[in-house]
């Protein structure tokens, strides 16, 4: 099991991968990707039980579903560096004929991806189906999901949130990336969502908060606590307070880097803040 320093080194490399992928094709979503680098690292380097010998049905494994598919750069980096496909393939992000499409898809057969996502609000429903299938299969592994906070404005989420509690789907841990930002600005300005914790609780979920969502130790503690809450008749939600653009100072605390690529100078600056730890692709 990796120690904290090893995990932080992994995060540093993932941040490099994120900005390099997006810079190369001058497109993609660095802000949200950087904000979730620690979370993905915790899941794939420490928490989840999975095989890199990828099988779509995932029987006997923990499964992860990314609902806000636009943060594909962090997903691709962590999958590659966890052994699902060659790290060099990150060079093909968003290029023609690539398996690394702009948003994640099963269509090109990229190992580690089990559903297409990008059109927002669909991931929790898919995850619930997978969770129900696990119960039918007497498979006691867990389903993990990630959703953007702005994404909760999509109504389908609330259909799923209602279903999960009403049907005691207690083998799912859904994490909300609470960075408070969406394309048009702060979520509180675009469409205020009120008290998200109270809303989940009112729907019948167990909710816990990770206030330092970019602190790998705190994330691991939160995921451990969440796991202890599973199999008790209720779905579990983690509200992960993150900083968009985390780890690259000029990308932090703003929605401006939601879907904008750094130029050459900005890339150099971003890389200078995050040492190469595992080798650039």
């Amino acid at each position: 099991m990796p120690n904290t320093q090893q995990l932080e080194d992994f995060v540093s490399q993932v941040r490099r991968d994120i900005v390099r992928q997006v810079h190369k094709v001058n497109s993609g979503h660095p802000g949200g990707s950087l904000g979730c680098a620690e979370f993905f690292t915790a899941l794939y380097q420490e928490v989840m039980d999975y095989s890199t010998d990828f099988k779509m049905d995932g029987i006997g494994e923990d499964l992860f579903f990314l609902s806000n598919g636009h943060i594909s750069p962090v997903f691709y980096s962590v999958l590659a560096r966890s052994g699902f496909f060659p790290v060099e393939e990150l060079n093909t992000f968003r290029l023609i004929n690539s398996r690394l499409q702009g948003h994640p898809t099963t269509h090109e057969g990229l190992p580690g991806i089990r559903i297409a996502s990008g059109s927002l609000g669909q991931g929790m429903s898919v995850a619930l189906g997978a969770a129900e299938a696990k119960k039918l299969n007497n498979d006691d592994h867990l389903i993990y999901t990630l959703h953007g906070d702005g994404e909760l404005q999509e109504g389908q989420n609330w259909e799923a949130i209602m279903y999960a509690a009403g049907n005691k789907i207690d083998n799912i841990i859904s994490t909300i990336d609470l960075n408070g930002q969406q394309i048009d600005g702060a979520t509180d300005q675009v469409l205020p969502m009120g008290n998200i914790k109270a809303k989940f609780e009112a729907f019948g979920w167990d909710v816990l908060e990770v206030k330092e969502g970019n602190n790998i130790t705190k994330i691991l503690e939160g995921l451990k606590e969440a796991k202890e809450l599973t199999e008790k008749g209720k779905p579990v939600c983690i509200l992960l307070h993150t900083v968009m653009g985390n780890g690259v100072d000029f990308m932090m605390h703003t929605h401006k880097w939601h879907g904008v690529a750094p130029n050459d100078e900005q890339l150099a600056e971003a890389l200078s803040q995050n040492p190469e730890t595992l080798g650039d692709y």
Binding site: M56, D57, G58, I59, L63, F65, T105, T106, H107, R114, I115, A116, S117, G118, S119, G121, Q122, G123, M124, S125, V126, A127, L128, G129, A130, A131, E132, A133, K134, L136, N137, D139, G155, Q156, E159, A160, M162, Y163, G166, N167
Partner: protein
């Protein structure tokens, strides 16, 4: 001309229910999801026999489609059930991304399609669903004509890998196809042999096409009736073979002429065998309240309309 006997009126949705119940007994991977229309979809027997494999999602169709996609990941074969309107237009993006683009083995089963839903009116009478579904890459689109065929189709689609849209209806209609038929996805069924006109029909219009063929025979016109139950992939070979013999074609469907079976046939023929064609379909309109019979009469979806279209298209040869 070969004659067909109506063995008693039955609704196609009950054929679906019977097929699903049989799958419940024969295939342990089949699961069913329903959005608060269990009785309307005739899913009660499956639910009673397999409560652990039946998922009531409430009035939440988007979540139902997403959950179905997720269940395939655990190796299940999900059948979703609601009205055609709520099975397609309401959840188009969910089907597009989570099912079709993701290549998931979901069977979207849709009742109360078209005008024959009747008195509920246009809000529920979708006439655009075949077009919506056939435009999705990789989607198989089936519209069955009677109880026996619907039951057979329901069983057959569980055996194929990939997303399917299965469309059927509410009213009791003639049941005339064989009880023991083997349903071959993508394979046309030639019902009568003829030389003057080819009538290509799907769904509830197939029985009407057979009635029309009898009327045409009385007028000395020989009609070849083809049942296209699978609109995609289309049995192009069967269509081309027939029109090469007859030289003209009438297509008949309970759907808008835009996007329906008729357009698929026209495309097929225009590429290889340009042929005069008439469309028996709704003409870019919404439906309205009324009995199924009244509506099919008013919107020209019956044997009489097929006879007129046949006479017209023969003159265009």
């Amino acid at each position: 001309m070969k004659k067909y006997t109506n063995t008693g009126k039955k609704d196609t949705r009950s054929g679906f229910g019977a097929g699903l119940a049989e799958l419940g007994r024969t295939n342990e991977n089949v699961v069913a999801l329903c959005a608060d229309l269990t009785g309307s979809l005739k899913m009660d027997e499956f639910k009673a026999d397999n409560p652990e494999r039946f998922f009531q999602v409430g009035i939440a169709e988007a979540n139902m489609i997403g959950m179905a996609a997720g269940m395939t990941i655990g190796g299940k074969i999900p059948f979703t059930g609601t009205f055609a309107n709520f099975s397609t237009g309401r959840v188009y993006d969910q089907i597009r991304q989570s099912v079709a683009y993701s290549g998931k083995n979901v069977k979207i089963c849709a009742s109360h399609a078209g005008l024959t839903l009747g008195e509920d009116g246009a809000t529920h009478q979708i006439l655009e669903d075949l077009g919506l579904m056939k435009m999705l890459p990789g989607m198989t689109v089936i519209n069955t004509c009677d109880y026996n065929q619907t039951k057979a189709a329901t069983i057959a689609i569980a055996e194929m890998e990939g997303p399917v849209y299965l469309r059927f209806g509410r009213p009791k209609v003639a049941n005339f196809t064989p009880e023991d038929q083997k349903f071959e996805i993508g394979k046309a069924v030639n019902l009568t042999e003829g030389t003057d006109v080819t009538i290509i029909a799907t769904g509830h219009l197939v029985w009407e096409a057979l009635q029309a063929a009898e009327e045409l025979e009385a007028k000395g016109i020989s009609a070849e009736v083809i049942n296209i139950h699978t609109i995609k992939p289309l049995d192009e070979e069967a269509i081309i073979k027939s029109v090469k013999k007859t030289g003209c074609v009438v297509t008949a469907e309970e759907h808008n002429f835009l996007g329906g079976l008729g357009e698929s046939v026209a495309r097929t023929l225009s590429l290889s065998t340009p042929t005069p064609q008439e469309f028996v379909a709704t003409m870019d309109t919404f439906g309205e309240s009324g009995t199924p019979e009244q509506l099919m009469d008013k919107y020209g979806l019956n044997a009489e309309a097929i006879v007129k279209a046949s006479e017209k298209v023969i003159k265009r040869k």
